[in-house]
Structure formats: C-alpha cells, structure tokens
Amino acid sequence: MPILSEQDRKTLQTRFKKDLKRDVTLTLYTVRSVGGLVLPGRECQTCSQTEELLTEMTKISPHISLIIKDFYVEAEETQAKGIDRIPCITLQAEGDEPSNLLFYGIPAGFEILTLIEDIVAASRGVSPLQLSARKALRKLETKVHLQVFVTPG
C-alpha cells in the first residue's frame, strides 16, 4: 500500500507542477538489505519506509529524482559529508552545489511539508528568508551548525 494517499498525491502534483523550476535530486543514505537481511548492528527501523516514500515522490514529478546509496558501502563519502546516521536525505538542485541541509529520519506526518518546502526552495533557487537576514548570514565568519529536533506530529 502506498504511503501517500491519493489526496496527498494530487495536492503534491499540483504544488510541484506550479512551483518546481529546476530538477532536484534527492540522495537517500540508507542500508540495503540482501534478501531482506541486514547485518546485525546495521538495522534501520525507518530506512525502507523512507525509500518507499521518496520513490513515491519521484513518481509525482519529473523534476524530482532519487539516488539511493548504502551508508556502509559509501563510508568515505558519508564521512566527508559529515553524515553519521541513517536514514539521511540530502538534496541538490540542477546546477547548484549540494545543499547544506541533512534530514535525519523519515519525513513522516507533517515533517513531509518541511522536505517539500525545501525541495521547492532548492528548485526555485530562492531563499524564503528576508533579504536583511540573508545579508547578515552572508557576512558570517564562523561556521554555524543547526540541529532542529522534530517529531512527525
């Protein structure tokens, strides 16, 4: 059974059709099972559901594509990107650098809205922040690491 309801699908279709300009690639870092089996210690409760959800989203818009990578196989890459747990989603708009945003955990419930807004912002290449905030942030001299804790709601 699909994760997104028919109603969700239609709403997203309308939104993506209206607001997506450039293609956006989602990368999911996960653990791939072999014949349904995962090595002990590498179990991931929401990885397969996250993959299913993102796959459904790619079917809603031709502007969204998904790359799936195994966290353990791509250890060097994940380390370089500072990804230390799974499932983890990153996004990159066509012609842009990968975004500095990581989603840890399944974007379920209302959290899917956060991911959708970020996909739209990346695709349009426009920040939703006020101009003065963007100006201030451009002058930052120190790295800022934000961790926003959420629940599906």
């Binding site: 409760q45 500095n100 006020q130 201030a136 001299e141 800022v144 690491h145 961790q147 804790f149 959420v150």
Partner: protein
C-alpha cells in the same frame, strides 16, 4: 557557513537525550545554544549571530518585537 540538520527526535533517542529534547521543535546551535519552540526568523537569527559573537550583523535587520516571547510553541516528545 551554515549547515542545518533536521533530526527526527524519536528515531535518534541518544541524540535527543544528549540535548535534553523534551519538546519539539528544539534547535541546537553549534552544539551549545538551545532555542526552544517555533520562534520567528528574527529571533532565530539573533540567537545564531549571538552564538557566534557577531551581533553587530543584526543592524539593518528588523529587531524582534519586544512583546515576542523568547521561546515559541512546542509539542511534547512522546515516549
């Protein structure tokens, strides 16, 4: 210069415990500063700039309204 992570609190209990996440949203800046609740853009910007000692960059940005609460609304994290 800004890296952001959205963390599903219930899926990563060790991290939630580390940062004493009892209600969401909760934002942690550079592993130290805690911002509780859904605060305005201006409040979050102030906290970020304050955390890195660059409060001077706030000039030109609309100051937060004095009546605005220091923390925003939250929901408790279920067990």
């Amino acid at each position: 210069m800004v890296h952001a992570e959205v963390v599903e609190a219930q899926e990563f209990p060790h991290l939630s415990q580390l940062y004493r996440v009892q209600a969401v949203p909760k934002t942690i800046i550079n592993g130290v500063v805690e911002v509780l609740g859904a605060v305005s853009e201006t409040t979050l910007l102030e906290r970020v700039l304050n955390a890195v000692g660059q409060d001077d960059l706030l000039e030109g940005h609309a100051a937060s309204r004095p009546e605005e609460a220091p923390t925003g609304p939250t929901s408790a994290v279920g067990s």
